[in-house]
């Protein structure tokens, strides 16, 4: 992609706006050559591990995450004075074990992340295909909605929605989906427009295939790879968004643990108990970073065009 060469106005605007979406391509990093296969593998393993932890939380958590014990209130992590190895990362202000809460918090992040991306991508594919292939009224309506939604800064939109819908697990997924779907939609629409002109689609049309069939069988398989790459990259962003919303108290409600609200809990106790906020944030960092690395490797695997070393 020659950044300095885009000429037509639409191309350019698309390119600029797609930075959010195609930041992946602007990174220009070929993971394999650049940071080594190992890093990509480690990153993917971490993500898989997170999924496993979220499924088998009770196995990984040493304690009940919601069990309060005021004797353990603000107990430091094990390696500090006053800490114990039964509570390796210490306890929060209600005496709940931090490690266990982090383990169960993985559930929230993973489930929200996957659900939002799954639903948004499904909706996005559908709307994108319709807008790109059927054009006309469909394109007009869908594109307008997409443009309007894009005009809202993400967080404000989500917060506003949550304020109206009320907090909670399901609502957070819905709120995020409402904005997230426009991104796969735009990618799909763009790819559909490009692919539409290629011969095999015309061939299928000549053979009299139904519109639906064409959209599904001819176009979709060929645009899947960029869609998947975008989806995996966005998942990382969605997880950060969920944690931001939870931090503000708009996400999952106490006593349920989410990494975001754990950081919020710890804010009051920054002075005397830094560990309450710190570790959950580190968990977010590790998961999101791994997802970013893994998705970049995925992109390179699909599309060596964007590689650099």
């Amino acid at each position: 992609m020659n950044i300095t060469d885009t000429n037509s106005s639409e191309n350019r605007i698309d390119m600029i706006e797609k930075t959010e979406v195609k930041t992946v391509s602007l990174f220009s990093i070929n993971m394999k050559n650049f940071l080594g296969n190992r890093l990509a593998v480690i990153a993917s393993l971490i993500v898989i591990f997170a999924v496993i932890v979220s499924i088998f939380s009770s196995f990984f958590a040493p304690h009940d995450p919601n069990k309060t014990d005021l004797f353990l209130r603000l107990q430091p992590p094990a390696w500090m004075d006053g800490g114990e190895w039964s509570h390796p990362l210490g306890a929060d202000h209600l005496g709940r074990d931090i490690l266990s809460r982090i383990v169960y918090g993985t559930r929230v992040s993973i489930i929200v992340g996957f659900s939002v991306i799954f639903i948004a991508t499904a909706v996005g594919i559908l709307t994108g295909l319709m807008a790109g292939y059927l054009k006309g009224k469909f394109d007009l309506v869908i594109s307008t909605i997409v443009d309007i939604l894009l005009g809202f800064p993400y967080l404000i939109f989500a917060i506003a929605l949550m304020a109206v819908m009320g907090p909670g697990f399901q609502n957070i997924i819905l709120a995020l989906v409402y904005k997230e779907w426009v991104i796969p939609c735009r990618v799909v629409r763009g790819e559909t427009l490009a692919v539409k002109e290629i011969e095999y689609v015309e061939a299928a049309q000549a053979l009299g295939a139904s519109t639906f069939h064409i959209m599904l069988k001819e176009i979709l398989p060929n645009i899947l790879s960029p869609v998947i790459v975008v989806a995996t990259t966005r998942m990382a962003t969605v997880i950060i968004l969920e944690s931001s919303l939870s931090f503000l108290g708009l996400g999952v409600q106490p006593p349920m643990a989410s990494w975001g609200n754990m950081v919020a809990d710890g804010r009051e106790f920054m002075l005397e108990a830094w560990w309450v906020s710190t570790f959950s944030g580190i968990a977010i960092l590790i998961l999101v970073l791994s997802m970013n690395i893994a998705s970049l490797s995925l992109r390179d695997a699909f599309d060596p065009r964007f590689s650099e070393s």
């Binding site: 950044i3 300095t4 005009g151 993400y154 950060i240 944690s243 944030g281 999101v288």
Partner: protein, 297 residues
């Protein structure tokens, strides 16, 4: 909203009328539009003052913070990105890229808290929150403390303002800086591959000239446009960071407004944010046009 006060039907009706809630919905909508275009967003429920007044009061603080974050992000990340591209593939490059990726992967609110824990609480080099210390207040001329304190000639107030600005600026600028660094790097790498760079070197020009005059000029085009767009997006991050640092800006105001169901204020804020977002995108387009001779002429 009236809380637990003893409410009579008359009181309720009076309040409704006052807030205009008794009119049919389409009338309310038009009234809103006509008022909004005049800058009248109604009165804030919470503050009991006109919304615009409340927002404008706190706007300078947000602008100051955002500007500082932008400047910091650009000043640090653009040179780093250029250096990374020039030293492509070396350890320096790999480290920078990984750092940038980490920067993007960190939740802003957590990063801010960590900074507070380390620098304000443990090392006690910087204040925990707020914008300035009461005792060092100066008369407000521009609303930007950095300027006002210098205008008032008070170095102690200036230093105080700076110290309060450091942590929020770093937190806000981090995400933007990390992305900007990668964009600069990628753009620079693209540019360095071009024939005109080879030709410039074939002319025997100095390395610095080739890198800065020939390469950077072209590489900056996408960088600057992305920076403009990112600034529009900074507004979202502003809210959380202002809340964490107790920064008296529009962001923290909006967060509180949402929680206290102060609808007029939220409406106004959302409208303003969207407006700024759209303006920044437009600015990005403009910049691209102005900077790219091929398009300009």
């Amino acid at each position: 909203m009236l809380g637990d006060q003893h409410v009579t039907p008359e009181m309720e009706q009076a309040l409704r009328e006052d807030m205009g809630l008794d009119l049919p919905i389409h009338e309310r909508y038009f009234k809103f539009l006509s008022n909004a275009s005049k800058g009248n967003f109604g009165r804030s429920f919470f503050h009991r003052r006109p919304v615009m007044e409340v927002i404008l009061e706190r706007l300078p603080a947000t602008i100051e913070l955002t500007l500082c974050a932008m400047v910091m992000a650009m000043v640090i990340s653009i040179p780093l990105g250029v250096l990374s591209a020039v030293k492509k593939g070396t350890l320096y490059d790999k480290t920078s890229v990984v750092t940038a990726m980490t920067g993007v992967s960190m939740p802003g609110f957590w990063f801010g808290i960590i900074l507070i824990i380390i620098f304000a609480i443990n090392l006690q080099w910087l204040p925990v929150s707020g914008r300035s210390v009461f005792a060092l207040r100066v008369p407000s001329i521009t609303g930007m403390l950095l300027i006002d304190t210098l205008l008032a000639g008070r170095m102690d107030s200036f230093m105080d303002a700076v110290k309060h600005l450091i942590l929020p600026t770093i937190t806000l600028g981090m995400a933007m800086g990390a992305t900007l660094m990668q964009v600069t790097r990628a753009s620079m790498m693209e540019v360095l591959k071009q024939d005109y760079i080879l030709f410039a070197e074939a002319k025997g020009l100095k390395r610095t000239r080739v890198t800065f005059f020939h390469a950077l000029k072209n590489a900056l085009i996408p960088t600057v446009t992305v920076a403009a767009i990112q600034t529009g997006q900074l507004l979202g991050g502003n809210m959380i960071i202002e809340t964490i640092f107790g920064w008296p800006g529009v962001g923290s105001l909006v967060v509180r407004a949402i929680f206290s169901r102060d609808y007029p204020l939220v409406q106004a804020a959302v409208l303003i944010y969207v407006l700024i977002y759209v303006i920044m995108n437009f600015v990005a387009d403009l910049l691209y046009t102005v900077l790219n001779p091929k398009v300009r002429i």
